[in-house]
Symmetry: C2
Subunit: 153 residues, 2 copies
């Protein structure tokens, strides 16, 4: 086992592989359910590595994304994400106990990607249960609910 | 083996794990050498998955980054990258044979990251040899050489 870098201690509650079910909705699409696997790992340096995949309920791959979580002192974090849809997201926000409230600092959109303007992510862990909620401002719609899930470690 | 998505065929020359040595320089740092491993893989969907790690010549981890390559028609690509230094990069550019010339579309910088303004990446494959050159505009310096490496599949 690689030793955890001390600056990561406030974020250690995220470590592990989390699996469960989520649901998504947005004015421009049909609501849907999905299965999800999220892994937060570390390599001994002061950041977490994040990998995420979702599947529809028939097992076909849907979304995937990956990136890094950077601690900011003992009560904040930054989240840096790349998506194969041509989107990058940088979020920052406070850490309150085991709840991370992240707001958009910057969204990058590749020339052929769909327009995404802002994303807010709240991630909360209670014991071995992770819940998150993602709000999105995209394709001309105001910031609103898009995704939520409950996962087990 | 998962079948390659047809839109990825022009980029199939990137697939594999590539290892070798690189060198870096910039006005604000000492020049240095590094060992590197790059993997381009796919999951059956129309994008490549990119993972990269470097080490100093004593085997200590230096940089890492990951992201996705998106084909644009048959003669172009977009590169979407997240870095644990708090930086995201989106590049786009033409594919000329097995040479990809990528210029910055957007750079995202987290609140606690160093300032990076633009990055240009040229990646070229000849048989089982990959060479790349990375130019960077950062920390008040104009766009100029930062990294180059030669890797073998």
């Amino acid at each position: 086992m690689t030793e955890l870098a001390p600056p990561l201690e406030p974020l250690a509650f995220l470590l592990g592989t989390w699996r469960g079910r989520g649901r998504g909705d947005y004015p421009t699409i049909e609501s849907f359910e999905y299965d999800e696997e999220i892994t937060f790992s570390h390599v001994g340096k002061p950041f977490l590595v994040y990998h995420q995949r979702t599947w529809d309920l028939d097992g076909r791959p849907l979304h995937t994304e990956m990136g890094y979580v950077r601690p900011v002192g003992t009560d904040g974090a930054e989240f840096v994400i790349a998506q194969p849809t041509g989107i990058t997201e940088i979020h920052a926000g406070p850490l309150d106990g085991q709840t991370l409230r992240l707001a958009t600092q910057s969204v990058g959109v590749s020339p052929t990607a769909k327009e995404v303007r802002a994303v807010a992510r709240t991630i909360s862990v209670d014991g071995d249960t992770m819940t998150y909620r993602l709000d999105m401002e995209a394709v001309g719609q105001p910031l609103q609910f898009h995704l939520e899930a409950e996962l087990r470690r």
